[in-house]
């Protein structure tokens, strides 16, 4: 397969750097891996054709320093950069400066990153494309009567949010009209005291939500979807377990959801791989666009398993100047895939980080089993970066079969001596709610709390 890229600089680390190097190698693209002083031993540095050090261990002094990466870029003569996820992957400035050097940025242009990275702009683009967003007031509500009018239109329960709040602060929930009448004046004086601004807005409160997201690929003109993923099992808003397709989605809703993602991607002339994140309201049976991630995501392999499409390869081909290689009709969803994140954390001690030397690593195998990792036996996991050691991904013809296959693969997986979240997944894969797909975004934290109280798990 031909691409316009000859030499690719990988501006990331860990398992995703390995994943990018493998995709580049399959396309006969040479690779340059940038590393911090702490990362010379990582698997990606061993697999890359060239390695360039870009600074000391902390990411703020290496992987996040645009100047250092651009210097490595100039030195290496690479003609493209893949940013992976995290770090600079959604930095419009990084994308712009790479492009200004005449180098290809494997992702959308800086303008698109800026536009979709801003929640207000992204919401406006979604509305323009006819994609549903969480219903609520158009900006601030003038007074209590206006708040009641909005609430009656969208239905209870509703959230009363301080316009000047953020990060979960200044939010109250009203289940009924009576509660709203009491809540609004209180929320106003609280907002005035807390934020110096008594502006409020009203939004539908989604009690039982599932996190569902749609994978898209675009070439700047046309976009296609690669079906949806479900990532409802989360702890502290971090995904721990992901599946494709979403188990509980009615077929008609799925078709609407995926079509809406394509409309939005085409609305912004999207180029590259992207993910549109939605909340699915289990009570209202409706989905709402939340935000778009303008990069590859950690959980992309479940999509690869059900579609057979190599997403990183597609990103490289599109970045190299090729139009989309697939039509929507060519992309089929077959079977079911599950990914679990194996993190260097101790589930028995409230997920205390557990960096250190890996003495044993036995990867599971067999049909439909994939283990993407950036570590190996004898490697010391540094304390400076996130705790993801690897992703165990399984595929089978049905969700029930995939769960059984996951259970077997987790039995085979051995990483030691430090604790990992593999033990959590061994519990989850046997859990009746997980097996029935009867979960929401709150389920895992509720279950962990109950398990801690029952003494099944000791919290640290």
């Amino acid at each position: 397969m031909a691409t316009g890229i000859k030499k690719l600089l990988v501006a990331n680390r860990g398992e995703i750097a390995v994943r990018i190097i493998r995709a580049a190698r399959d396309l006969d693209i040479r690779t340059v891996q940038v590393v911090s002083a702490a990362d010379h031993d990582m698997l990606a540095a061993r697999l890359a054709d060239e390695v360039i050090e870009i600074g000391p261990a902390p990411a703020q002094k290496s992987y996040l320093v645009i100047d250092n990466i651009l210097k490595a870029l100039a030195e290496s003569g690479a003609d493209a950069v893949h940013p992976g996820y995290g770090f600079l992957s959604e930095s419009a400035e990084f994308a712009r400066r790479v492009t200004e050097m005449g180098v290809i940025f494997c992702g959308p242009d800086a303008q698109t990153i800026d536009r979709m990275g801003d929640k207000v702009n992204a919401r406006a683009a979604a509305i323009a494309a006819g994609v549903p967003v969480v219903p609520g007031s158009e900006g601030r509500v003038a007074d209590l009567d206006a708040a009641i009018a909005v609430a009656e239109e969208i239905g209870y329960p509703v959230m009363v949010k301080a316009a000047a709040g953020g990060g979960g602060r200044g939010i109250r929930v009203a289940q009924t009209r009576e509660e709203l009448v009491k809540t609004v004046p209180m929320a106003m004086s609280e907002a005035r005291a807390g934020f110096g601004d008594d502006g409020l807005y009203i939004e539908a409160f989604i009690q039982r939500a599932r996190h569902i997201e749609v994978q898209v690929l675009g070439d700047g003109e046309r976009a296609v979807h690669l079906f949806e993923r479900e990532c409802s099992l989360q702890r502290r808003r971090q995904k721990v377990w992901e599946e494709a397709p979403a188990a509980a989605l009615p077929e008609a809703v799925r078709a609407d959801l995926c079509a809406s993602a394509v409309r939005l991607a085409e609305e912004v002339w999207y180029r590259g791989a992207g993910t549109l994140e939605y909340l699915y309201d289990m009570d209202r049976e409706a989905f709402y666009f939340i935000e778009m991630n303008t990069r590859i995501q950690v959980e992309h392999p479940v999509t690869e398993m059900i579609t057979g499409v190599d997403l990183i390869r597609e990103m490289l081909l599109i970045a190299g100047g090729a139009p989309l290689s697939l039509s929507q009709e060519q992309i089929r969803c077959a079977g079911h895939a599950i990914e679990v994140r194996v993190n260097a954390e101790n589930p028995d001690k409230n997920f205390l980080p557990a960096p250190g030397r890996i003495e044993t690593l036995v990867s599971p195998g067999g049909p439909g089993v994939r283990f993407d990792t950036g570590v190996y036996a004898g490697y010391t996991v540094p304390p400076y970066y996130d705790s993801l050691l690897g992703k165990l991904v399984v595929w089978d013809t049905s969700r029930a079969a995939a769960l059984d296959r996951l259970s077997g693969a987790l039995t085979e997986l051995e990483i030691g001596p430090n604790p990992t979240t593999a033990s959590l997944h061994r519990d989850l894969v046997q859990n009746p709610d997980v097996r029935a797909g009867n979960v929401s975004t709150l389920w895992l934290e509720d279950w962990l709390r109950a398990a801690a109280e029952d003494g099944l798990l000791k919290t640290g």
Binding site: A57, P58, A344, E345, L352, P353, P355, G356, P383, Y384, Y385, D386, S387
Partner: protein, 80 residues
Amino acid sequence: MAIHKAESPLPGLLYHKPEPDAQPFKAPGDAVALGDTLALIEVMKSFMPLEAETAGTFKGYLIDDGEHIDAGDHFCEIEG
């Protein structure tokens, strides 16, 4: 009076202050009570407090603010 050296249970980056422009948790001469936060450690993007396991008088930090610390390293001295 014995000098007690507090040790870090984890490797990571040690911080003397809750935020970059804040005052250090302890200055030499400060009283230390059991459970007082002496420092923060950043491990795998999580910040955790390192709390006093002895009471006494704070003598000083043994590792600079923002520097690497290994598990088992001593990071401050308390006289008590």
